[in-house]
């Protein structure tokens, strides 16, 4: 595994697929599926923004548009039962992990059929059947959780003789690397051989503060991981095939050696930090420049060039996705709001009496995903 930055050129990506034999071959089928997933996220986020502007979605809402290749490409490289945890820009991860657009959108609408029964909202997407452990709102707080997920699977295997060798993925933004929790998680994972892969979705901004203004040694983030003796790589997060080619063997290495990993995944977000961000900290030209390198357009171009996709088949895919997201909007609209009684449920797993001077806790409705 090289630790050198990956070239972003398409020719090299194409070359590495054709001329360099690898045991992790990317099939046309995989590429088509990635395209579908990335387009689904983009369409979903377009509708999310509309619904937010219509005040159907409240609170803080962070849009993933531009970063689609990160979630789709990395999740494609792990097993369905490898645990995943992420921050608050989490819609893309939820969808890539397999959550239905229905459950994701209904959650943002604050409805009972949402993945958290309307108790979590945009920042707290949880999907137990798909091994997604949230959606977490506090910057960096999910990094120790990521380490704990990998620790738990290792413990189950080694102490209880259950399960199998797993890795966990802990996603964070470049802003989170300034948090103490992040460094503690890296240190712990390195000392205890915990196979957690810390993926920095480096979009260049910690909210509105550009990376050179918020973190030291910003051009060399992998030194963060390396200083803990963690295998660390920089990967282009805008080209999903490059990303997969680099990341897939990296994952298997972490899994096999039971060691943590660190990835500086270079990406860009097209929208503001959240829906309420006027984006005065960057120029429109900069955004346009990145849109030129758009990950969906790039993969689509490759598929068109190779003849695996035509204008017609692309239109058909887009139409199908539009339908799917439209149905999710309808589902979210029609799902009822949680009953008042749900206010007092899911607080305690064993709701004894006298836990509160005012509240009486009970169990309510089952989670719709379970």
């Amino acid at each position: 595994m090289t630790q050198a930055p990956t070239s972003q050129s398409e020719s090299k990506a194409a070359q590495s697929m054709t001329s360099q034999p690898t045991s992790f071959e990317i099939t046309t089928q995989m590429k088509l599926e990635w395209l579908r997933q990335m387009q689904l996220i983009r369409e979903f986020e377009n509708r999310t923004m509309q619904a937010y502007q219509q005040a159907k979605i409240g609170g803080f809402c962070h849009i993933y548009t531009g970063q689609e290749a990160c979630a789709v490409g990395t999740i494609a490289a792990v097993n369905d039962d490898d645990p995943v945890v992420t921050a608050y820009r989490d819609h893309g991860h939820a969808l890539a992990r397999g959550m239905t657009p229905d459950a994701c959108m209904a959650e943002m609408f604050g409805k009972i059929h949402g993945c958290a029964k309307g108790k979590g909202g945009s920042m707290h997407m949880f999907d137990k059947p798909n091994w997604l452990f949230g959606g977490h709102g506090i910057v960096g707080a999910q990094t120790p959780l990521g380490a704990g997920l990998a620790f738990a699977e290792k413990y189950k295997l080694e102490v209880m003789g259950e399960g199998k060798k797993k890795v966990s993925l802990a996603y964070l933004g470049d802003g989170a690397i300034d948090q103490g929790a992040f460094h503690e998680a890296l240190n712990y994972s390195a000392v205890h051989d915990i196979p957690c892969i810390f993926i920095i979705e480096n979009n260049g901004y910690s909210m509105g503060t550009a990376i050179h203004r918020h973190t030291a040694n910003a051009d060399n983030l992998i030194s963060r991981g390396q200083s803990y003796g963690i295998n660390s790589v920089e990967i282009d997060g805008l080209d999903i095939c490059d990303l997969y080619n680099e990341f897939k063997p990296f994952v298997e290495q972490c899994r096999e050696n039971s060691r943590p990993g660190f990835v500086d995944l270079k990406t860009y977000r097209y929208q503001g930090h959240s829906m309420s961000d006027p984006q005065k900290y960057r120029t429109k030209d900069e955004v346009e420049e990145y849109k030129e390198k758009d990950s969906i357009a790039r993969l689509l171009g490759q598929l068109m060039d190779s003849g695996d996709m035509t204008e017609d088949s692309w239109k058909a895919m887009q139409k199908e996705i539009k339908e799917q997201v439209r149905a999710a909007m309808k589902f979210a609209e029609e799902s009822p709001a949680p009953e008042s009684s749900e206010l007092f449920t899911d607080v305690y797993a064993n709701p004894e009496k006298n836990l509160s001077p005012t509240a009486v806790y009970t169990h309510g409705l089952n989670n719709p995903l379970l």
């Binding site: 945890v85 958290a116 707080a141 704990g148 899911d346 607080v347 305690y348 797993a349 169990h363």
Partner: protein, 365 residues
């Protein structure tokens, strides 16, 4: 119309987010628990160790992690010998990195394990405030009932003996404010074992407060297994003049004060609450209806303290039964001093309790 899937109500006693929950053990009333008195005299720290070891033998999902718990045999020798019995995969030394290892353990609990996290002192839990307050007690709610967090955080709470301001925190008032957690605070070795075993079996996050000053206390601890239900106070001494309500180390101050008062012909109740959340308000009411006077003795600061909460509930539930305004005795409302004499004066010590009882009774000191 979209066909919306039907969602059924939860029917189990324990929330279905807690998979593979071992059946909760029988929770017995005080008179059916093994005798409180006896001749198997061990230390408070040994009682804690016995509770953890018994539960770890029962259930491989239970493990202990914290600073110096393994090779050093515990900073306070609570986990002495446990590394030898259970090995380094289950008795785990951590870096001095509370935020990191608390968060890690929370994810392990979400994944179906049953971690016991030892904080050398609850004073050090503040650097882990985000995971223990923002994650553990809220995970079940925030995930809409998908992920529970069956975890025990335990460690020394309160003044340890001239440790001064930063190492003498009583965190119960701060943390008990948060819904989603439970809080136990044993005052003696018998309760230390019985409450910790319940804490480990409970499917919710439990904040378990010990005291450096009690770890060497010796008393009878039954060899057999027993579980003290949460929310079940113990009447440690029965009187008729005043009901003293307390929890944790100050229960012992109350018992000492009761001896002094008894020599002067004043007999007081001492009610050991054992757990703060849940709070056995019924037992308090029952005794207040007999003595009609109540003093809450609390080792946290007075403003928005556990005493404030207990007295509020007393006023809400049995105001008409009171013959005097309900009283509280907290630590003095200042940072913890270092000097031995000042630290003693700062605490709700037996002399201060005697004074407070006499004031409540209108008896000259």
């Amino acid at each position: 119309m979209t066909t919306l899937p039907t969602i059924e109500p939860v029917t189990s006693d324990i929330h279905p987010a807690i998979e593979h929950n071992l059946e909760m053990p029988a929770m017995l009333p005080n008179d059916q628990l093994p005798p409180f008195e006896g001749d198997r005299i061990i230390q408070y720290r040994e009682a804690l160790r016995e509770a953890m070891s018994e539960e770890m033998r029962r259930d491989k999902r239970v493990f202990l992690l914290g600073e110096e718990v393994a090779q050093y045999n515990g900073a306070y020798k609570i986990s002495q010998g446990m590394l030898d019995e259970f090995g380094p995969k289950r008795i785990i030394d951590t870096p001095i990195s509370e935020n990191g290892f608390a968060g890690m353990a929370i994810a392990a609990a979400m994944s179906g394990l049953r971690p016991i996290v030892e904080f050398m002192s609850w004073s050090f839990s503040f650097v882990a405030a985000d995971p223990i307050l923002n994650n553990a007690p809220k995970m079940l709610y925030m995930s809409g009932g998908q992920f529970g967090c069956p975890i025990v955080f335990r460690g020394n709470d309160g003044a340890g003996g001239q440790l001064a301001s930063t190492h003498s925190w009583c965190v119960e008032a701060l943390y008990a404010n948060v819904p989603g957690l439970k809080m136990a605070i044993p005052s003696n070795p018998y309760d230390a074992k019985g409450l910790l075993k319940t804490a480990i079996r409970d499917p919710d996050p439990v904040f378990f407060m010990e005291s450096e000053r009690m770890l060497g206390d010796k008393a009878h601890v039954p060899e057999e297994e027993y579980y003290i239900p949460f929310g079940q106070a113990r009447l440690a001494r029965e009187g008729d003049a005043v009901t003293l309500v307390s929890f944790g180390r100050p229960v012992n101050f109350c018992l000492q004060a009761a001896e002094t008062l008894a020599a002067e012909g004043i007999e007081v109740d001492v009610l050991d609450m054992r757990t703060i959340r849940p709070l056995d308000i019924e037992s308090i009411i029952e005794r207040v209806k007999i003595t009609n006077k109540v003093l809450v003795v609390d080792q946290s600061w007075p403003f928005a303290s556990i005493a404030s909460e207990v007295i509020t509930q007393i006023c809400e539930r049995c105001f008409d039964w009171l013959d005097a305004p309900p009283a509280r005795l907290n630590t003095e409302d200042v940072p913890t001093p270092y000097a031995k004499g000042l630290e003693y004066e700062y605490l709700p010590n037996p002399e201060r309790i005697v004074g407070a009882v006499k004031e409540l009774l209108g008896v000259n000191a």
